[in-house]
């Protein structure tokens, strides 16, 4: 199953096409005015599937955040479409969850209130909301902070609450925009472990944007590399370090010779833009 990365084709084949496809990005381009300038995104084609954790790697300015904003529905693509389970996705809604770089919690709501917010918007009755919020808080280990306000929590706890809030609306895909880049190294590592565990439990499709090669190699089942001017996907491959059967711990992975080789080649590949 483990394929070695191919550093050649522009838009390589979807990796496991036999599963039911969820998210299709079809010929998406984005051009800001003036129109004669180079496009921010140029003909992006992408298929994301159930239970994939896709890391998008790229230098700053390669359009990875623009791609995320298009997937979320925040900005319309100049050309092309985004389809989720066959339906065109044009405006933001709870089928596409977003976790931001900073936790972005609503400061006037308690942690439980934040987690319940999406369900409230869906019109789920209060008792059920409370029950589900408690479940998701348990999942991220914040059951004791339920009644606290966001400003009373540390950075890592806030980001966990934000993840619980996004999962609580049961989205088809969760987009994460460099969610741990503002955290200190120790907290970041515990959050990375945490995301991998959450992913294993929930089997959600997660698209994770990062500029950290280590993070991409440790977390992902699949890696996309983007280049800038124009923003495009230049690599799309399964992470050879990922195995479905056993989740290896980070230290073991880091010591792996393959990890070091991949790290080197990815770094040089990203730097060669």
């Amino acid at each position: 199953m483990i394929a070695t990365p191919t550093f050649t084709s522009h838009h390589s084949e979807p990796v496991h096409a036999n599963r039911s496809t969820q998210i299709i990005v079809d010929q998406v381009s984005l051009t800001y005015r003036p129109a004669w300038e180079e496009p921010v995104l140029d003909q992006i084609n992408l298929e994301l599937e159930q239970s994939e954790l896709v890391c998008v790697l790229g230098p700053s300015g390669c359009g990875k955040t623009s791609l995320l904003h298009i997937l979320a529905g925040y900005i319309p693509p100049t050309r092309g479409t985004v389809r989720i389970n066959g339906k065109e996705h044009k405006a933001p809604n709870s089928s596409v969850g977003v976790v931001f770089q900073h936790a972005n919690l609503f400061p006037w709501l308690s942690i439980a209130g934040n987690v319940e917010f999406g369900m409230k918007m869906k019109g789920i009755p209060k008792p059920l909301r409370k029950e589900k919020a408690a479940h998701y808080l348990q999942l991220v280990g914040l059951q004791e902070a339920a009644s606290k306000l966001p400003h009373q929590l540390s950075g890592g706890m806030k980001q966990r609450a934000a993840i619980a809030r996004t999962l609580a609306t049961d989205p088809s895909i969760v987009l994460m925009d460099e969610p741990f880049s503002a955290l200190d190294a120790l907290t970041r590592e515990s959050m990375q472990i945490h995301v991998r565990e959450l992913w294993a439990k929930t089997q959600k499709c997660i698209m994770f944007i990062t500029h950290d090669v280590d993070e991409a190699l440790l977390l992902s089942s699949r890696i996309l590399i983007m280049h800038a001017r124009p923003g495009r996907i230049v690599q799309d491959f399964r992470n050879p370090l990922y195995s479905e059967n056993k989740a290896r711990n980070f230290n073991e992975l880091r010591a792996d010779r393959q990890f070091l080789e991949l790290r080197e080649s990815l770094l040089s590949h990203i730097a060669s833009v």
Binding site: F117, G141, S154
Partner: protein
């Protein structure tokens, strides 16, 4: 299901704003002492008869006038009646200003064309001294409560409106994006996200608005009125009752401080996250 996180992080403790090493109550003590010293000076000056009691009645005289007004009222109206008349005008005007200026300001902050319609009018009348157009209002609506409430409404409207416009433009874009990704749209976005985001600014603006309206109120009652605490002071001055003037001024000051404390405690209760710097 076991909690999935292993590393325990300490929650932050809210920092007190007290300066290092000094108990915050010490400053209250200093303030209280300063007030007591000022009171003693007042008592000393008046009891030595340095100035005529017409200009500075003694604390005892003022206290006596206070008791007299409490007992008999002033010119056919009880003290509470005068205070109530003033506060009622203030309350009605501020309430109307809040429920009109805030929604309008929020909409103007979201839609530039709407702001373009209202901006010239607000910008024109805002710097005008309220008493300048008060004469017009009296001409149209008489010296009863209507003209006064309208005057207070206009003076409170501008700060609330301008703050709402400014505040809604400062709502983080990510917060609105995030809310839409959680399923909020249309009116629920305004009610559940934009309004609470603006609330800290709005309560600060409310403090300003109450301050402006309060000073306008006293001035308005001095121009044309038949009741109210401001009118009481003006009327007393016609009869050289300086003890009553002092009573009125002290009551006005105390009421203003109490209103401010009330709004501040509302801010503390509803927007505790803004107290963290």
């Amino acid at each position: 299901m076991r909690p999935a996180i292993s590393v325990k992080e300490k929650p932050k403790h809210s920092r007190s704003i007290a300066r290092k090493g000094v108990h915050p109550y010490i400053y209250r003590g200093i303030s209280a002492s300063a007030v007591i010293v000022a009171g003693l000076l007042w008592w000393l000056i008046s009891s030595l008869h340095v100035v005529s009691s017409l200009f500075m009645p003694s604390p005892a005289e003022v206290w006596a006038a206070f008791l007299e007004i409490i007992k008999d009222g002033y010119k056919g109206e009880t003290l509470l009646g005068h205070i109530g008349a003033s506060l009622w005008r203030l309350f009605v005007a501020i309430s109307i200003a809040f429920v009109t200026a805030v929604p309008l300001g929020i909409l103007c902050g979201r839609f530039r064309w709407l702001q373009a319609i209202f901006d010239p009018f607000v910008e024109f009348y805002r710097p005008l001294p309220p008493l300048a157009y008060y004469s017009l209002l009296v001409l149209w609506f008489g010296i009863e409560d209507t003209s006064k409430i309208l005057l207070l409404f206009l003076s409170a409207f501008a700060p609330l409106f301008i703050t709402s416009v400014y505040s809604v433009q400062r709502v983080p874009k990510d917060r609105i994006s995030g809310a839409t990704s959680l399923g909020a749209k249309g009116w629920s976005l305004y009610i559940y996200i934009i309004f609470p985001s603006c609330l800290p600014d709005l309560l600060t603006a409310l403090r300003t608005a109450v301050g402006v309206a309060y000073s306008t109120l006293v001035a308005a009652e001095m121009v044309a009125a038949i009741s109210g605490i401001g009118w009481m002071v003006l009327d007393a001055s016609k009869f050289l009752r300086s003890d009553v003037i002092y009573v009125g001024i002290i009551i006005m000051g105390v009421i203003a401080v109490l209103i401010d404390v009330l709004i501040r405690s509302a801010m503390h209760k509803w927007c505790p996250w803004t107290e963290q710097s």
